[in-house]
């Protein structure tokens, strides 16, 4: 229920035990190390410190594992929905070096196969190009490496398809004696010819043909006919494909290594982070200096570890000028709602006031009030419960807490839905009236806001009044904690008198007015107490009194509770009306089903966004604005952050 008291931790340890020591401290998950590198800049320290660099192999190994995992994902994808939970692994298994080595060996094998597959693809590509180049010559039964006779030459050549037609070239060649030219093949780009020429007419014919775009084709390193070459290439291609397939099978056979590889990736990521931490530490040739923060209640566990490693260490409370990190400790029920506060900001360590337990109930109530529908609430609750159950997101992560908040708020939505009589808006009366011919209505426990919006309006303002008053009280409490009780009376107490006077007027006008007058007088006299001179004090006091408009608009701001609540109900009602337009016929029911599904899914979606944002906004602006000192630094201890596996602590 509060901001956790922090202790400053200083440790001097032998340099050689740095890795195991750090590993144990990480395992504890409650030590935040400060950047001791700052010490290097301090001239007093700099003389005795040495720049220390831990060059680990973790990043290179991570690269190997990641490449192997990508190959597995590509060639042997496993079916895992986005809701698959992290694999539970015990601590001993997680830090088992033999398993790492096994994962690395497996990854090496997979990468090797991957490389060979790439080579196969390259070779296949090269051969396919060669085959494609030979295809047009296939019909020719003359070997491509045909030797010229004494008097004749055998030639291959092409002319562009956009040039003169093939027959024109053939005619040009064959008008000479001793020249034979055949068109073998034409495609969109070229015409392919075989021609036999007598040596005597060679120059003459070639000149003429070249003028028409003809060029000679020469086949290097090719024996036999085009057809036999193509067959050979196809055979080789088939072989390569078989080889590639068997390599792929090899990778698929190694798919079982994936969990191990992922586990090793987690372990090595932590290892690589450890290298980074070590690189930022202050060290001499033989010793290491650690400086950081730990929650006061964890001192015992930390010192146990430090004792075991024979370190010199000390704890001390935060001093003036320190910047202790902020950790909020709350009950299990409130903790998820801390996410809402964190999205805004953390309270400062000095403010000593944790807003979560005060904010959470309002968040719970307001969210449900704005959605206010039994069915919608049930949907939200079930979806969040399912995700929590199936994906098991880390409990203190954003996702895990968001789903828990959703789960609780869904329940609140069901409760308010029952109060207001909302079930998919007015689904039951609407369907029974328009399609079944006999209107059945459900009675709300409290009232139906569509019928009685004024009641909800007043309820919203009452909630607003309560939360604003609570915010002011918390401010007073904070001021007292910080040693300023007079300020609490002057700046908060008098305002409370004014504000409480307002509802009192409804009961007894003179009493209420008396409260308000006393409060106003108090504010007028004390708000300017820091200003010099009577005139300054009075103007400041008057200025402060003008602040009443601020409180008024804050409380009126809660009318959004009504607006969003009606918003959900109205959209739902419109969807139901649209769905039931065609009445109880077959077409009518079909229309109804489509409109029902699309419409209500849409309504839940847009109202979830609206409700979440406006519930948060009421906390941030109307509530936190009263007392919250923002700007705390989150406590970020060393801990084993994993993506694929969940480390189970032994003995638990």
């Amino acid at each position: 229920m509060s901001i956790v008291t922090m202790s400053k931790l200083r440790v001097i340890a032998p340099l050689q035990i740095r890795r195991p020591l750090l590993k144990e401290l990480t395992g504890l998950g409650c030590v935040e190390l400060g950047a001791s590198a700052q010490r290097l800049a301090d001239p007093e320290w700099a003389g005795s410190l040495e720049k220390f660099s831990e060059a680990g192999d973790a990043d290179r190994q991570l690269g190997i594992l990641a490449a192997a995992r990508d190959l597995l994902d590509k060639h042997a994808p496993t079916k895992s929905g986005f809701l698959s939970p992290r694999r539970p692994v015990t601590e001993a298994v997680f830090s088992d070096d033999a398993l790492w080595a096994q994962a690395l060996a497996g990854a090496g094998q997979i990468n090797d196969l991957g490389r060979q597959i790439t080579l196969c693809y390259g070779e296949e590509g090269r051969l396919s190009v060669k085959r494609a180049a030979l295809l047009p010559w296939r019909s020719l039964e003359v070997p491509l490496d045909i030797k010229a006779g004494k008097a004749y030459r055998a030639l291959f050549g092409v002319s562009p398809a956009t040039g003169p037609p093939a027959q024109e070239l053939i005619d040009a060649a064959e008008q000479k004696a001793f020249a034979v030219m055949t068109l073998l093949h034409s495609d969109r780009e070229q015409n392919y010819y075989f021609l036999i020429l007598h040596n005597d007419v060679y120059d003459e014919v070639m000149d003429e043909l070249k003028a028409k775009g003809f060029t000679l084709s020469v086949f290097k390193d090719t024996e036999g006919t085009a057809d036999s070459n193509i067959l050979q290439l196809e055979h080789r291609l088939k072989e390569l494909e078989d080889q590639r397939q068997s390599l792929l099978e090899g990778i698929k056979a190694l798919a079982g290594q994936k969990p191990l590889i992922e586990q090793a990736m987690d372990a090595l990521t932590i290892e690589s982070q450890r290298d980074q931490v070590l690189n930022n530490l202050a060290a001499t040739r033989q010793t290491l200096f650690l400086e950081g923060w730990t929650p006061a209640q964890s001192e015992g566990a930390v010192s146990q570890v430090l004792e075991r490693y024979g370190c010199a260490y000390g704890f001390s409370p935060p001093e003036e000028g320190d910047d202790p990190p902020v950790l909020l400790a709350n009950s299990k029920l409130v903790r998820p709602f801390g996410m809402v506060t964190e999205l805004y900001a953390l309270p400062t360590y000095e403010s000593k006031l944790d807003p979560n337990p005060f904010m959470a109930p309002f968040f719970f109530i307001f969210f449900g009030l704005m959605m206010g529908d039994i069915a919608y609430g049930a949907i939200i609750t079930l979806v969040c419960w399912y995700i929590l159950k199936k994906a098991k997101p880390p409990e203190d992560g954003m996702m895990g807490r968001l789903m828990k908040v959703g789960f609780y708020c869904g329940i609140s939505t069901i409760i308010w839905g029952a109060f207001f009589g909302g079930f998919f808006g007015n689904l039951i009366p609407s369907v029974s009236g328009a399609m079944l011919g006999h209107e059945v209505s459900i009675r709300p426990i409290l009232f139906d806001p569509m019928v009685d919006p004024m009641k909800l309006f007043i309820l919203a303002l009452v909630f607003g009044f309560i939360q604003v008053i609570l915010g002011l009280c918390l401010n007073a409490y904070k001021m007292i904690l910080q040693g300023d009780p007079l300020g609490a009376v002057f700046d908060v107490g008098f305002w409370l008198l004014i504000l409480i006077g307002v509802p009192l007027c409804l009961v007894a006008v003179p009493v209420g007015l008396g409260f308000m007058a006393a409060g106003a007088l108090g504010v007028l006299c004390t708000a300017g107490r820091a200003k010099p001179g009577l005139f300054g004090k009075i103007t400041e006091g008057l200025g402060a009194l003008y602040g009443i408009t601020g409180y008024l608009s804050d409380i009126l701001s809660y009318s959004r509770l009504l607006a969003l609540s009606l918003g959900t109900a109205v959209i739902a009602q419109v969807m139901n009306t649209m769905g039931t337009l065609a009445g109880g016929t077959l077409v009518g029911w079909l229309l109804f089903i489509i409109v029902f599904i699309v419409g209500h899914v849409f309504n839940v979606a847009i109202n979830l966004i609206g409700t979440y944002v406006h519930t948060s906004r009421l906390q941030y602006i109307e509530f936190f604005g009263k007392f919250f000192d923002s700007g705390g630094r989150p406590f970020s201890p060393l801990f084993n952050k994993t993506k694929y596996v969940e480390i189970i602590k032994e003995g638990k």
Binding site: S559, A563, T577, L581, I609, R617
Partner: protein
């Protein structure tokens, strides 16, 4: 002069209200979603993985059009255009329904565009610090407040008008 009395018949005025609610609030949303979409496309060229987040921000200014549609639908329902039994209403009632449509029509137009601009600006947050989407969503959502309030007033007016 029959056309003048036709023009100012209750039904025509009520229909004008429905027209304005759909037309103005819809235009506001269309512009807003468009502005946000232009910025979203810019973010997407750098990192296609941010599609979901940018789409969420782009969708925020889309609600004004829906609010306008709701009021238009409710007006049509009240005068029986939907449901098949048109009710003859007086010029005064028609004028009242027209007035009831104005809050969401006008605020829908202006807030839709304003919200689109806020969304577009927040696309920059998604581009550089996608983990802060929770905060980025707040700014456009603040604009939404006024659309919700005007929907509420339009709705309360619609509720109170007896046909």
């Amino acid at each position: 002069m029959e056309w003048i009395s036709n023009l100012f018949s209750g039904t025509a005025l009520a229909l004008l209200g429905a027209v304005l609610a759909t037309f103005l609030a819809g235009t506001g949303s269309a512009k807003g979603v468009g502005i946000a979409g232009e910025a979203a496309a810019g973010v997407l060229t750098e990192d296609p993985g941010k599609f979901g987040q940018t789409l969420l921000l782009q969708a925020l200014p889309g609600t004004q059009g829906i609010y306008g549609f709701i009021i238009a639908f409710l007006i049509l329902l009240k005068i029986g255009i939907i449901g098949g039994n048109p009710v003859a209403i007086s010029t005064g009632t028609g004028f009242q329904l027209l007035l009831a449509s104005l809050p969401i029509s006008i605020v829908g137009l202006t807030s839709g565009i304003a919200q689109g601009r806020a969304s577009a600006a927040c696309m920059g947050v998604i581009a550089k610090r996608p983990e802060e989407i929770g905060k980025a969503m707040m700014y456009p959502a603040m604009v939404e407040t006024y659309a919700v309030l005007s929907l509420l007033i339009s709705f309360l007016m619609w509720m109170g008008i007896n046909v």
